[in-house]
């Protein structure tokens, strides 16, 4: 249980002269046990925010606070899942999870580590794939292992950078439900910062959604997602409230694109 706070964050890339502003004065506070999604077109600085919170990068201005403590470097209090590069290819699924437990939990007894790892493999339904190397698994299975690894680390917060972005839509549905189930089945919910570009994914999973827009990266709007939990994908998608929220999100997201789209349409008409 922890809060994440971004305070006056600005991030500049590149050498003097060709500077590119990736983030411009971003402020955001994620409450304890809250599931917050960052959504926006590519290049809006979503992943940069994950890098800053995980401590992989240091902001040019401002600071990241976890439980009011400033973040200066990566640490085991934050569990991270990336799109497809979280696992170490030279370790089996089982070894990957053991490795994470060993280095973040301070568990020294080998058998305790292995028992825990086995448990987490089981909860993502991959007890049989423990001896497989990541290269031999499908993208969906790899992400399940990554999520098992993140849960096994028992961090204060979860950071997820488009974790299902490389999966096909069926696998993605399966993974969203798995994540939702694992996250909500515990008594205390972990604080989650989740990056996606999929509006439905954000609506299904989040308590709040922060919409970002690019160049420079800013947070345009933060939207509450009021649906009660546990949420059911089927019934949720049919409600009028869901549809109106979705169309609102899409219009915020793509208002810059609308002009472009209209132009393109005119071009098509001209051709026809």
């Amino acid at each position: 249980m922890a809060t994440i706070e971004l305070r006056n964050i600005s991030m500049l890339y590149g050498a003097n002269g060709t500077q590119h502003t990736a983030l411009d004065n971003v402020n955001l506070k994620i409450r304890e046990g809250e599931f917050l999604s960052l959504i926006g077109p590519s290049g809006c600085g979503k992943s940069t925010i994950i890098d800053l919170v995980s401590g992989l990068r240091v902001p040019t201005k401002g600071s990241v606070l976890i439980d009011d403590e400033p973040v200066s470097k990566p640490g085991p209090d934050r569990g991270t899942v990336f799109q497809d590069y979280s696992l170490f290819p030279w370790m089996t699924s089982f070894e990957n999870i053991c490795f994470a437990i060993e280095h973040t939990q301070g568990v020294h007894s080998r058998s305790a580590v292995e028992n825990q790892a086995r448990k987490y493999l089981e909860i993502v339904g991959l007890a049989k794939s423990g001896d497989s190397y990541p290269n031999t698994l499908s993208g969906g299975m790899r992400q399940r292992i990554s999520i098992a690894r993140m849960f096994s680390m028992n961090p204060k917060v979860f950071l997820m950078d488009e974790p299902f972005g490389a999966l096909d839509s069926l696998n993605r549905i399966y993974m969203q439900d798995l994540l939702l189930h694992l996250w909500s089945e515990r008594d205390e919910h972990k604080t989650v910062l989740f990056v996606t570009h999929d509006v439905d994914e954000a609506l299904l999973l989040s308590d709040r959604i922060a919409v970002m827009s690019p160049s420079p990266g800013v947070i345009k709007e933060v939207i509450d997602v009021p649906f009660p939990r546990p949420r059911c994908r089927k019934s949720l998608g049919a409600t009028a409230e869901y549809l109106s929220l979705k169309s609102h999100l899409l219009s915020v997201l793509y208002c810059e694109m609308m002009g472009e789209l209209a132009k393109q349409e005119q071009n098509f008409r001209g051709l026809a």
Binding site: D51, L56, P74, Y85, L87, H103, T104, Y133, N135
Partner: protein, 308 residues
């Protein structure tokens, strides 16, 4: 994979039999007299047994095996026919296979002793180089500033043939063995170092980031992430180093040793014992094949996570 036995397989047996018949029935040419042809017969028999085992027991990629054996027995047959029986080149300079293989029967203690000596020196230098170059390379690859200095130097020094150091090594070091170990160490060190540094650099940045989020210490990072991540490139460096070592030890022995395989060839060359020179060459190639096979198996084990 072809499981079916190709028709030309019979040709292998025919050629083996023909070589045997040739050797038994046709009297040896002048200066080709061999006291003991049993080893040559043994080699022919061994080839037949190996081939049969590959065809009917092992049965893995039968066509490739057949083609390979066909090339070997064809060479053996024409060697026996053209040089053993017809003496196309002066048999003193290029004797037939029966004479060459007979050498193994008489000289095997000397050859075995020389082989052990050569391999011992090689292994010492090579493993010293492996240890030093990998640990140094990992650290250099990890520390940007060290890398900027070390990589250009390594690139400039690594193409210098190690045998160039031989005159100095012999003068400065107390014995031939230490000089050779040094030579092999130097020859192996650079390729492995360059391979390791390059390997550390080619570890995907996203994987390093993933490791950093676990909060690893520098030592853990190097041992558990950079070392296995750099392993594919370390192995290609180690392969070049191994080939260099073979060349270095053979050349060094030819120049300065009093035992070993390179010495054996050079020594017999001085006495115009060309049957022994060729036998030595065959032995060296067999040793190289065996060592390379072991290397491949080790590599397969360590890189088993790659495209399985």
């Amino acid at each position: 994979m072809t499981k079916e036995i190709p028709r030309i397989a019979i040709l292998v047996y025919i050629l083996l039999a023909a070589t045997l018949v040739l050797d038994v029935l046709i009297p040896a040419g002048p200066k080709q007299a061999v006291h003991d042809t049993s080893i040559f017969f043994g080699v022919l028999l061994l080839l037949a047994i190996l081939f049969t085992a590959e065809l009917f027991v092992h049965r893995k990629n039968v066509r490739a095996t057949t083609d390979l054996f066909l090339v070997i027995v064809t060479i053996l047959f024409f060697w026996e026919l053209l040089f053993g029986k017809m003496s196309l080149i002066d048999p003193l300079l290029f004797p037939g296979p029966a004479r060459v293989f007979a050498v193994f029967g008489t000289d095997w203690p000397l050859m075995l002793y020389g082989m052990m000596g050569s391999l011992g020196i090689m292994a010492t230098g090579y493993f010293l180089a492996l240890t030093a170059a990998i640990s140094l390379g990992l650290y250099i690859g990890w520390r940007r500033r060290l890398y900027d200095v070390a990589y250009p130097i390594a690139k400039a020094v690594s193409p210098i043939p190690p045998t160039v150091y031989l005159p100095y090594a012999i003068v400065l070091l107390p014995s031939f063995a230490t000089a050779s170990v040094f030579l092999i160490f130097i020859g192996s060190f650079w390729p492995i170092l360059v391979g390791t540094i390059y390997g550390v650099f080619s570890v995907d940045h996203r994987i390093i980031n993933s490791a950093r989020t676990l909060g690893l210490s520098d030592a853990q990072m190097i041992r558990r992430i950079l070392l296995p991540g750099a392993m594919p490139s370390i192995f290609s460096g180690a392969m070049i180093a191994l080939i260099m070592s073979f060349i270095s030890i053979t050349v060094a022995e030819m120049i300065a040793a009093t035992s070993g395989l390179g010495w054996y060839i050079e020594y017999n060359h001085q006495f115009a014992n060309y049957d022994k020179v060729i036998a030595g060459m065959i032995l060296i190639s067999l040793v190289v094949i065996a060592v390379m096979y072991i290397f491949d198996q080790v590599q397969k084990h360590y890189l088993r996570w790659q495209n399985v």
